[in-house]
Subunit: 235 residues, 2 copies
DNA sequence: ATCATGATCAATAGATATTTTGATTAGTGT
DNA sequence: ACACTAATCAAAATATCTATTGATCATGAT
């Protein structure tokens, strides 16, 4: 093997990883998988893909060794192969945020309130959690909460928030968080809470970033795979 | 704009960056640009591409805002748009190294000696540089050395090493470095030096990683653009 | 002015990716 | 055994990417 052939093969290997990331649907799937393991059916529903298409994209990720899968009954559950895969997606996201003006424009257009509402960052939230001066709510779907959430957070999916306002304190600030910096659930939650007179802010980013930074996390032992049935009791 | 349209556009933006990385030649170009700014001609020669093809690939990187360019006389000089771009490439490379067994296999096949020769890492090298117990040589092309090198290193391009052995000490260990962990120049240099009875090792990674980690760097003021002519005296 | 050079552009052919459709496989429950 | 479901596979249509060719443009040298 010549010097050139070696280089070509080496860079081609690295490019297979980049190719796996080079599709918007696959990035969305990775973002979902960063919340926890999920079935193909579930991923397809969340990402608005047909089952066959979601399956095909997941296989591309799998061939690049970015995700792994495991059969559980009728379902196949996919998970990130390594925490480094989340780091990679996050680094890509950060470069996009820093370099592409279009991203700021999109966020400003779709979440017009975001500029006016200051977000809280991880270390301030952790200090206030310890001090007990804040109520943290996880507004992601309950399945994601069960697979891992900020220690001390309550699960109130954004879809249920309007009818569960009575559960929330009026004497303490409420902090809502969701999947990540571009997830809108927390923005919607904060907006709703403020309209009802609560003091509320969002966490600047989401649960995967909190966990990656090593802050305390809790898990409610439940298995992720299920279609319309109840989760199977254990592995 | 609906929720789905927002997500689609957002992930598509992030995917443009991944798409720019999703080609082996473009990764090689980024790796070269991590050494310093260079002309299209120079990049094409180093990466074994036609001028038109190199130009096309550089424009893909430019549209993704990963590189910037500047006209200098007849040449167009490209540079990384941001140190974060190197971080991204490096994170991608690290995930590849960790996840793809094929990469290990390739390196073991092409650089069979690498396993047997232990590399030195950055902080040990820095300590020994300060102590003066080591001679560091930069075996990259002289142009790359001039644009930035490890403080205290001498430039001896690997192509000139065989006829410049007399310049090197026999009483101290020699550490050779080049472009990065997969660059073979340092391996070739170490191999040659050992055959001639020198004590020699390679730095585990290369100059861009050294600089990114904040270790001391020196620059010899010279402009990067030139074809077959002498460099223009100043900017 | 004229020419040579570095870079880009435009057009094209060939190779890869993506999505959909319908068929098939593996596992569950009756 | 039978029906049902989740997932994958195979094939095909479409879209996108890549490399090459030759033309064009800007710049610097003569």
């Amino acid at each position: 093997m010549g010097h050139r052939a070696f280089k070509d093969r080496l860079y081609s290997e690295f490019a297979t990883i980049a190719k796996a990331l080079a599709n918007p649907h696959r990035l969305e799937l990775l973002d979902l998988l960063a919340q926890g393991a999920r079935s193909v059916e579930d991923l397809a529903r969340e990402a608005d893909l047909t089952l066959a298409n979601a399956s095909a994209h997941l296989q591309v990720l799998r061939r690049a060794r970015l995700v792994e899968r495991e059969k559980r009954g009728l379902n196949v559950v996919y998970r990130l192969a390594d925490p480094a895969v989340f780091t990679l997606w996050r680094t890509l996201r950060d470069v996009g945020t820093a370099r592409l003006a279009e991203i700021d424009r999109l966020v400003a257009t779709y979440i017009s309130e975001r500029q006016s509402l200051e977000a809280i960052d991880r270390d301030e939230l952790q200090r206030r959690l310890v001090a007990g001066s804040v109520q943290v709510i996880d507004v992601r779907p309950a399945l994601e909460y069960r697979q891992g959430h900020i220690a001390g957070a309550r699960s109130i999916p954004v879809t249920e928030l309007a009818r569960r306002l009575a559960e929330l304190p009026r004497d303490r600030e409420i902090v809502a968080y969701c999947r990540g910096p571009y997830c809108v659930y927390a923005d919607e939650a904060v907006s709703l809470l403020r309209r009802h007179g609560f003091r509320a802010r969002r966490l600047r980013d989401g649960f995967p970033e909190w966990r990656a930074a090593g802050y305390p996390v809790e898990v409610s032992g439940e298995t992720p795979a299920r279609g319309r049935h109840r989760p199977t009791p254990r592995t």
